[in-house]
């Protein structure tokens, strides 16, 4: 309950700051925020182009929401186990890339999900292993792996897998893509995120896993007090390795639902911003899997809706990142303020 009010506080303060900035720029904050809701398919726009309406907007919002849920779950699980997995972006990229490659041989949606899960898990396991074998700080390894993976993959795409027109990687074939793009139904053109139900189910299962299983108990004990966990007879190293492996696997699911779902291709030379926003989302959600779903919803409303808002209000799209950054700052502050006692 305390966490919930902290999060609410962070959101309100951040939106107020955002409004202040909009106002200083000479814009009307209320109509700008309403445009954000319109852009996410939560309010009716003034007019729509052909085969589009509020529902199609909402469906593409869900499409953008799906990888965010997975990514924030990855952060939340790692934090429960005492790890700060800041390298979600790199793990996503690696998983997305592996799935692209696999889809060339096995064009199946199931294969994409499985490959993404495994690829992410491998990177997570590597970070966990480096931590317990050599005691290398996971923040350092995960952020360094981000760069290593990004440049390796960029090199490969630019050399072997480039689409010369779009300057992106080739697109994944539609049979393996996790989003049904341009699906025609009732005269509408919809983007259907097939991984969305998986994301929701994953959040529910993860919550149950953390709260109701002995593994979850071990992860929490290890995260909060490794010495006490060791005294309890918990295999601390194995638990740490398992936590990071699972966190990486969730990041991998985020990767495939992003690069093989929401997008169909990989932009070389970049890591996905979602990987970093996920940290804010997880903090905002109180590192609780179900909290993450709601926080993902909110942050995605802002990031997705701002595209429409920026074109309507003639404001740079970076305002979305700015508000998200505010939320991150305040969420972090309030969670620290909350534990200041004693």
């Amino acid at each position: 309950m305390r966490k919930f009010s902290q999060s609410l506080f962070a959101i309100i303060i951040s939106l107020a700051f955002g409004a202040l900035i909009l106002w200083l720029m000479g814009k009307d904050p209320v109509s700008a925020y309403m445009d954000i809701l319109r852009g996410s398919g939560l309010m009716e726009k003034v007019k729509y182009s052909g085969r589009q309406n509020m529902f199609t907007d909402f469906m593409s919002f869900i499409d953008a929401l799906t990888p965010m849920i997975f990514a924030s779950l990855a952060v939340a699980l790692a934090l429960k186990g005492g790890f700060f997995n800041i390298g979600i972006a790199g793990q996503m990229l690696f998983a997305g890339f592996c799935a692209h490659m696999a889809a060339l041989f096995i064009p199946s949606k199931i294969a994409v999900i499985v490959i993404g899960f495994i690829a992410g898990a491998l990177i997570g396991a590597l970070i966990g292993w480096l931590k317990y074998r050599f005691n290398v700080n996971e923040v350092v390894t995960s952020i360094m792996l981000d760069s290593i993976l990004m440049y390796l993959i960029t090199f490969y795409i630019n050399t072997f897998y480039i689409n010369p027109v779009s300057r992106q990687s080739k697109s994944i074939i539609s049979g393996a893509r996790l989003t049904l793009s341009g699906f025609r139904w009732e005269g509408m053109k919809l983007d259907i995120a097939l991984a969305f139900p998986v994301a929701i189910i994953t959040a529910v299962i993860l919550n149950w896993f953390i709260e109701r299983t002995t593994y979850g108990y071990e992860i929490k004990a290890t995260g909060l007090s490794p010495h006490a966990a060791y005294y309890a007879g918990i295999n601390v190293n194995r638990t740490a390795l398992m936590t990071m492996t699972l966190s990486g696997a969730l990041a991998g699911l985020a990767g495939v639902s992003y690069f093989c779902g929401y997008l169909a291709a990989i932009q070389p030379g970049e890591t996905p911003l979602i990987g970093f926003d996920a940290i804010a989302v997880s903090l905002l959600g109180g590192n609780n899997p179900l909290g993450c779903v709601f926080a993902s919803f909110l942050i995605t409303v802002i990031s997705k809706g701002t595209i429409y808002m920026s074109s309507r209000q003639n404001i740079d799209i970076e305002i979305a990142s700015l508000i998200t950054a505010f939320i991150l700052t305040f969420a972090a502050c309030s969670s620290f303020l909350g534990r200041r006692r004693k």
């Binding site: 709260e211 109701r212 299983t213 002995t214 593994y215 979850g216 108990y217 929490k220 004990a221 909060l224 007090s225 010495h227 006490a228 966990a229 060791y230 005294y231 309890a232 007879g233 006692r341 004693k342």
Partner: protein, 510 residues
């Protein structure tokens, strides 16, 4: 009569679920040693913390030298001449003594009259002088981490004196000291008083109060019971007021009935983290129904001995047998299933997951067993009912019952929780490591009673303590550890405190 230097008027302070101080009014006179006595959770630390600006009272006022003060930070408290030595020292461990003392108030000189730098020579000189003046022996250039606890405490005291504090607060100052160190600490305190300082001493050790204090406030459950002149009051009276009932100081014990050998330790050698042999070829046996107590000065291998028998540290040589089974190289969990309960010294970092709820801490050592989970799925209802059962059986008090975050509980109740958890496993061997450190008389009694009860149940008890009184009260057999070796093992009835002391200091060896 000297005048009042500190006055608390109608102080009330509440924490969630607890009234820590309930309308407390008392005054401290200039130049006296004023003791505040009470059980853990009686509110004595809270009261004094408000004087040092760590909390602010919800109601009531604090007057210092007749002036109403709103002390909202330790910094402000310092500026009006109030200093405090906390139970856990606040020193930078890789700085020298002098650097620690001047930290924040460094003597500054300027190169070429422009560039400021810390004049450490002057600091060293000042500290040496200060240490001389108050008879507090320290070497200004020693690094803190190389010093023993008693010396670190002297550094803390000098830190206050350097800041020209007139009112010196000590929070449980003797909890970590050996008997000899306590003696010298009490002398220091008297010396400070004779030098004109006002001393406020938070403690629950009656003997120390009797030895040094002029007056003594007694608190119980947040309320001030009385303020007594120490000279004219007996320790029995003080104890009764503190606990709110009669306390007998000696635990009633039936004579021990030894059974079979439960624990058989042979030539046990344990290296510490630095690779140094902390326990050297130690051998002893503990029988069913025996309390085997290990006395010794802090840092003579007690931690390593306890940790290795409990399975937390792998011995480098020798064997440990429990009921004839070799458990020398078993894991922590194998030790548990074999039947070794362990109450560790560090209850905050090892004994408990402080940020867990009380209810989640109870099954810490058994959560994986069929009692609390099946096929890896935890039984919430079992967690809940078990928590209620233990809290009830061991009288563990907490603000919000089983959902209380353990960190927010008092030290005594935290320790009770650990003891409840370990004893409830009904194991053949129980290791108590410093079980009553920092606890009040009531809690100590309670724990000693548990130790005796476990013995009478037929368990083998290994009690490791720095507190000689505790060892004399509880032990059937006494061993003394010095420099990693056991220098003496004797039936408790055949050895005197003085003799143990000589073995502890290494004056006598076997």
């Amino acid at each position: 009569m000297a005048e009042n230097i500190v006055e608390f008027r109608h102080i009330t302070k509440r924490f969630p679920g607890i009234v820590a101080n309930d309308d407390v009014s008392l005054s401290v006179k200039e130049g006296e040693i004023f003791a505040v006595l009470g059980e853990n959770g009686a509110g004595k630390s809270t009261l004094v913390s408000m004087l040092f600006g760590m909390y602010e009272p919800d109601e009531g006022e604090i007057y210092v030298r007749g002036r109403l003060e709103h002390i909202n930070s330790p910094r402000y408290a310092g500026s009006i001449g109030i200093g405090m030595v906390h139970q856990h020292f606040r020193l930078v461990s890789n700085y020298t003594v002098a650097e620690n003392i001047v930290l924040g108030l460094e003597p500054v000189s300027k190169i070429f009259g422009i560039f400021p730098y810390v004049n450490i020579k002057k600091a060293n000189h000042d500290i040496a002088e200060l240490s001389e003046r108050y008879g507090l022996k320290v070497n200004p250039t020693d690094v803190i981490e190389n010093l023993n606890v008693a010396t670190q405490q002297r550094v803390e005291i000098l830190k206050m004196l350097y800041r020209e504090a007139e009112i010196l607060i000590f929070d449980e100052p003797t909890a970590v000291l050996t008997p000899q160190e306590i003696e010298s600490f009490l002398k220091i305190v008297k010396g400070l008083r004779d030098g004109g300082k006002t001393i406020i001493l938070i403690t629950h050790k009656l003997r120390e109060i009797k030895a040094v204090a002029d007056r003594c406030a007694i608190m119980n459950r947040g309320k001030l019971i009385d303020v007594l002149d120490v000279e004219t009051s007996s320790t029995d009276d003080m104890a009764r007021m503190m606990v709110g009932r009669d306390v007998s100081f000696k635990t009633e014990r039936k004579p021990a009935k030894f059974g079979d050998v439960i624990l058989d330790v042979e030539n046990l050698t344990v290296r510490n983290r630095a690779g140094f042999e902390a326990v050297k070829s130690v051998s002893f046996q503990i029988h069913a129904g025996e309390v085997f107590a290990v006395a010794g000065v802090s840092g003579n291998g007690q931690n390593e001995l306890a940790d290795s028998i409990a399975g937390l540290v792998m011995p480098s040589g020798g064997t440990v047998k429990l009921n004839g089974h070799d458990i020398t190289r078993s894991s922590v969990r194998e030790h548990l299933t074999a039947g070794v309960a362990y109450i560790p010294e560090d209850r905050h970092n090892v004994g408990l997951v402080l940020d867990f709820t009380l209810r989640d801490n109870f099954p810490l050592r058994q959560y994986y067993t069929g009692k609390f989970s099946s096929n890896g799925i935890i039984s919430k209802s079992e967690f809940e009912s078990y928590g209620e059962k233990l809290a009830e059986a061991y009288d563990i008090r907490s603000g919000q019952g089983g959902s209380t975050i353990t960190r927010e509980m008092s030290g005594g109740n935290q320790q009770k929780a650990i003891i409840a958890r370990e004893l409830d496993m009904k194991t053949p061997l129980i290791i108590f490591m410093q079980p009553t450190r920092g606890l009040d008389a009531g809690a100590v009694m309670n724990i000693h009673r548990h130790i005796t009860a476990e013995r009478d149940r037929g368990a083998a008890v290994l009690l490791i303590s720095l507190d000689l009184d505790e060892i004399m009260d509880c032990a059937d057999t006494i061993a003394v550890i010095y420099n990693g070796s056991i220098s003496k093992i004797s039936p408790a009835s055949e050895i005197s405190t003085d003799e143990i002391g000589l073995y502890m200091m290494g004056v006598k060896t076997a």
